[in-house]
């Protein structure tokens, strides 16, 4: 099993969710996060004082999938979340040892 983590622009979240659902992803964990990459933050001006706001709001999506689905899921996120402008985000895959469904005690593939 793999954990796919995607950090994307907030306004792309609905598109990505729909695409993933169409593909057959049954569940995910989503959080509102702050951060920055090469794009850095932005500046805001209050009464003439310019402030560098380092952290930019993003959406983080975490999905645990079968090994065979991981690349497809990454492909869907990249395709849907892409605007071509700086700040589109990142997707990465990490290995997962074990998954347990809390309600039943099912393990691994059966728990997905």
């Amino acid at each position: 099993m793999k954990l796919v983590t995607a950090v994307i622009k907030p306004h792309k979240w609905e598109d990505v969710r729909e695409a993933l659902e169409t593909f057959g992803v049954t569940g995910m964990t989503v959080s509102e996060v702050s951060g920055y990459g090469r794009q850095k933050g932005h500046t805001e001006v209050y009464r003439g004082a310019e402030y560098d706001i380092a952290l930019v709001p993003k959406i983080r999506i975490e999905i645990v999938v079968d090994d065979g689905d991981a690349e497809d899921v990454v492909g869907i996120v990249v395709k849907t979340a892409q605007t071509g402008r700086i700040g589109d985000g990142k997707v990465w895959i990490s290995p997962i040892e074990t998954v347990v469904r809390v309600r039943t005690g099912d393990r691994d593939e059966a728990a997905l």
Binding site: E32, V33, G41, R47, G48, Y51, I53, A54, V56
Partner: protein, 440 residues
């Protein structure tokens, strides 16, 4: 005149609302979320203290004393002659209360210059001393027949010198003596809730009709019929001037910041409203419609440019009391010298209406008197507090947040992300543990 009396009841309550809660909201929204309660408390506490001081000796020191009525021609009146409103009839209480609300908001205005860093106890010590040494004497000199008014009669309809230049000078002096906030000029200190600031600015505007329009003074000895005519003419002019100057100032501020910084902001609109109201405060009874629009537009644009200067001087006048109230107050007070017209209730022609330099001279003298008097005495008070009880909370308390350090409270039960970017979703993980019964 019964209608006038009913009107003054309303006007007085409106001016009360300007401090509690309008100014507290306006300032509170501009601070960081860790210090909003302390900022609001400075206004609330200031009102409570000034109210008590005012009825004890403030009215006597400003408007009474010496047993010769108002006009004693001296720098102050005797604070003890009418101590505790001794000899003031109940029917005159509303007049006392109206002035009381002005004294309260003037002190509350100062608090914006020293946001986030001052011990509540030091503020509580400062407030009664400052109104006693700075507010009541200046009010006595400008409005109540004191020394200044007996030599040079300046026009100050509702408090350009007494309220705004006064508070602006005091705020600047305190910011200088108390010092910068930790991280000033380096860390972002952006306003945490501009919706509060927008509401506060709107309520200030509303309350300002009590402030300006309520400041009508009747010509002594006129009959009821003449009073009614004066009342309708004068309130019409002051209400109209207050409105259009404020609109011009809001647009002036937005235009200036669009030129300087590229965007018209909501904070700019709120600030422009206040700058315009400040500038039209002394002049609302002195100018024509054109004059009011000019004063508002100039004040809005000039204050928008002035608020950026504090970073050049390294002065942490946190919420721009100098940039808005001193600058706006000076613009309103001095422009009377140019734009005053005898067709307005003030009845004096300024430079542009063929009245020569005499009005401008008197306005300048009144402004200078206020700056020097309050500048010197505020410096003395601030230094005395600095070397005795001290002004500031401990460094770590200031960084962690003055709300908890001074009041044991937090303004919001929100799980706010890392402070920079913006996750504001409420999280079950962030819920604090509540011991049942303790807070019941």
């Amino acid at each position: 005149m019964d209608g006038y009396y009913a009107f003054m009841l309303v006007a007085t309550a409106l001016v009360l609302m300007m401090t509690v809660p309008a100014l507290a909201l306006f300032y509170g929204g501009m601070t960081r979320s860790k210090s909003v309660l302390n900022m609001m408390m400075m206004s609330y506490v200031a009102f409570a203290i000034v109210a008590l001081v005012f009825v004890l000796w403030g009215w006597s020191e400003g408007w009474g004393g010496d047993g010769v009525g108002n006009s004693n021609g001296k720098l102050i009146a005797n604070p003890f002659t009418m101590f505790g409103l001794d000899g003031v009839s109940w029917g005159s209480y509303i007049g006392v209360l109206f002035q009381l609300t002005f004294a309260a908001i003037t002190v509350a205005l100062i608090s914006g210059a020293i946001a986030d860093r001052v011990k509540l106890s030091s503020w509580i010590v400062f407030v009664p001393i400052w109104v006693t040494l700075c507010y009541f004497p200046v009010a006595h000199n400008v409005w109540a027949g004191g020394w200044l008014a007996s030599h040079w009669v300046a026009q100050d309809y509702a408090g350009g010198t007494v309220v705004h230049i006064n508070a602006g000078v005091a705020g600047g002096v305190l910011a200088l003596i108390i010092g910068k906030r930790i991280g000033f000029g380096k860390e972002p200190m952006r306003p945490h809730n501009l919706t509060l600031t927008m509401i506060g600015a709107g309520l200030l505007w509303f309350g300002w009709y009590g402030f300006n329009v309520g400041s009508i003074v009747f010509v002594a000895g006129d009959g009821a019929q003449k009073d009614t005519a004066q009342f309708m003419t004068e309130t019409g002019v002051t209400f109209m001037n207050t409105t259009i100057a404020t609109c011009a100032a809001m647009l002036g501020w937005l235009l200036m910041e669009r030129i300087l910084h590229g965007k018209a902001t909501s904070l700019g609109a709120a600030s422009g409203i206040v700058a315009g109201l400040v500038a039209i405060t002394p002049s609302c009874g002195a100018v024509s419609l054109v004059g009011a629009i000019a004063i508002g537009a100039i004040a809005g644009a000039a204050c928008a440019a002035a608020v950026g200067l504090k970073f050049k001087f390294g002065l942490d006048d946190s919420l721009d009391v100098v940039g808005v109230h001193l600058v706006g107050g000076l613009i309103g007070t001095l422009l009377i010298g140019f734009l005053s017209t005898s067709s307005a209730p003030g009845g004096i022609d300024g430079l542009f209406y063929g009245g020569g330099f005499s009005s401008l001279g008197h306005q300048t003298i009144a402004a200078l008197f206020t700056i020097v008097w309050t500048g010197v005495l505020t410096t003395v008070i601030a230094l005395l507090i600095k070397v005795t009880i001290g002004w500031r909370v401990k460094d770590e308390q200031e960084v962690e947040g003055i709300d908890f350090a001074q009041h044991g409270e937090s303004a919001y039960d929100l799980h706010v992300g890392l402070g920079g970017g913006g996750s504001s979703a409420t999280s079950v993980l962030a819920k604090s543990t509540v011991t049942e019964g303790v807070n019941a």
